[in-house]
């Protein structure tokens, strides 16, 4: 037993010894950590769990996206043409916003983040770009979208990225919330949601998306990783249209290490293929024990 323990310790040594904490702060919501491991700069929440890495950047190649789920988010571009109004709920290190801004310089991008300290860290350490077109706002995502709906604002690309792996804001995973998201989605627009759900929650989450948006697409490139849900589109693009879009964008996305061809082969449409029981309970504002379900 002791030997195994020592072995484990030795195995983790090379990783832990190289990581250097370059910034640490306690925000209203969490402990924020900026860690440098060689060329890799990472934003982490709460140092205890490994799972909580939020965003990473290669310092020598800042364009190159590090996380698979960030790359998978760009499968959205197979469903829409030139997004002009983008809404991102959950900033992290700002890599999504930066990439979209570089791809579509004229697009308006609104980032909504609940934690002001995260915005500050994104600016100071992760080159988060803000311009007249790219803005950030400190607000709860649900409130932002409710207010946007009152103002009749519309977005053609809505990215929900407020889940950090450890904790799910339960009011951002209900039927009512998705209905509000749908109400600010422009015609022909798309919703992309990064989800970490496992076990029992996976089914409830799927049932809830289905209830509001109808059939949707799961983007999964790696069995062990999380999925990106793409929802809100009117019709599944034809094979021809997918190929057209891949051809048009593939080269533009290569510098970001996004393989659009690969993504186009890993779209799993739920129509006729629903992988959750039909009687799964939909999550609502009245019933949303998402975090409890995620551990069951």
């Amino acid at each position: 037993m002791f030997r195994i323990l020592m072995l484990c310790l030795l195995m983790t040594l090379p990783f832990s010894s190289l990581a250097e904490v370059i910034h640490k702060e306690r925000s209203l919501y969490r402990n924020i950590l900026v860690e440098k491991t060689g060329d890799l700069l990472c934003l982490k929440f709460n140092e205890k769990t490994r799972k909580s890495t939020q965003s990473c950047m290669y310092e020598s190649k800042p364009k190159k996206l590090v996380f698979n789920y960030t790359k998978m988010t760009f499968a959205s571009l197979l469903f829409i043409n030139d997004p002009q109004n983008v809404l991102i709920i959950g900033l992290g290190g700002g890599s999504l916003s930066n990439t979209i801004h570089e791809l579509y310089p004229s697009a308006h991008i609104e980032n909504v983040e609940i934690d002001p300290a995260v915005i500050k860290v994104a600016r100071d350490y992760f080159n988060f770009i803000e311009t007249d077109n790219v803005t950030s706002k400190v607000q709860d995502g649900r409130i932002f979208i409710k207010r946007a709906a009152l103002k009749k604002q519309k977005y053609d690309w809505i990215i929900l990225d407020a889940f950090n792996g450890d904790y799910i804001p339960e009011h951002l995973l209900t039927k009512e919330f998705f209905a509000e998201v749908k109400s600010v989605l422009a015609d022909g627009g798309i919703v992309a949601a990064n989800t970490f759900s496992s076990s029992k929650l996976y089914q409830h989450e799927s049932a809830t998306y289905f209830d509001v948006f109808g059939d949707f697409v799961n983007v999964v490139t790696d069995e062990n990783s999380n999925r990106i849900i793409l929802a809100g589109f009117e019709t599944m693009p034809s094979q021809k249209l997918l190929i057209e879009r891949v051809n048009k964008l593939a080269n533009k996305l290569t510098p970001y290490d996004v393989d659009l061809q690969l993504l186009s082969e890993h779209l799993f449409y739920t129509k006729g293929n629903q992988d959750w029981p039909a009687d799964t309970k939909v999550l609502t504002d009245q019933y949303s024990p998402a975090n409890l379900l995620n551990y069951q």
Binding site: L28, Y29, I114, Q139, D140, R142, I143, K146, L150, P169, E170, H171, T174, E176, F177, T284, D285, Q286, Y287, S288, P289, L292, L293
Partner: protein, 208 residues
């Protein structure tokens, strides 16, 4: 301990259970309109503490005027009725506040006041009133008050954990609140009925 006293302790326990159960669900009720940030809990806890403090004052005052088990039961009964608007009117009230107040701190403070102030104030009246009904010997008043706080706060602790760990997994928020209201109402009725029977018994005793 006689049966009436046991009933009073049980009722105080249940009111503690319901108060914290409702407070905990308050976070759930407000989140869709005001988020789940730390100031939401600030609003809820402020309103609950404030209304309980006022309830204590009112309950103490009321206990000086012909205290009886019937009146005690009536407090529960009224509280039960006042909990129902949380289920019926939360949506329109919060929609109204949301559209009129931009700042979610003051919005949530006003919303929790509108939803929870009256029922919690009435529930707050129960503790001092229970002490009055239980105390017969002023030398033991501190002990009685201690026992009562023990029971009602234990109820609060259980109400918090059972609601947050288990009930939210099985039931809708509104159904849990309706159940709390029904329990409070039923307990109020029970106290009133017991009180009436006791009065009759005493009348029979006096006659014979």
């Amino acid at each position: 301990m006689n049966k009436i006293n046991a009933l009073i302790y049980f009722l105080a326990f249940s009111s503690g259970f319901c108060i914290m159960g409702i407070e905990l669900l308050g976070g759930r009720i407000l989140a869709p309109y005001f988020g789940s940030s730390v100031h939401i809990w600030g609003s809820i806890i402020t309103v609950f503490m404030l209304s309980l403090s006022i309830g204590y004052l009112l309950g103490g005052k009321l206990s000086t005027r012909n205290p009886s088990l019937t009146k005690y039961g009536l407090i529960f009964f009224v509280a039960s009725i006042m909990v129902v608007p949380i289920v019926l009117f939360a949506e329109p009230i919060m929609t109204f506040i949301f559209t009129h107040i931009e700042d979610s701190r003051y919005g949530s403070l006003l919303a929790s006041t509108a939803l929870f102030f009256i029922p919690t104030t009435i529930l707050g009246m129960i503790s001092p009133y229970s002490v009055r009904l239980l105390v017969t010997d002023h030398e033991k008043s501190g002990q009685v008050a201690g026992g009562l706080y023990f029971v009602s706060t234990l109820g609060s602790a259980l109400g918090t954990i059972i609601t947050s760990f288990y009930m939210v997994l099985a039931f809708d928020v509104n159904d849990i609140i309706k159940t709390f209201a029904a329990v409070l109402g039923a307990l109020g009725l029970l106290a009133i009925v017991v009180s009436q029977i006791k009065t009759k018994e005493r009348a029979v005793c006096l006659e014979s």
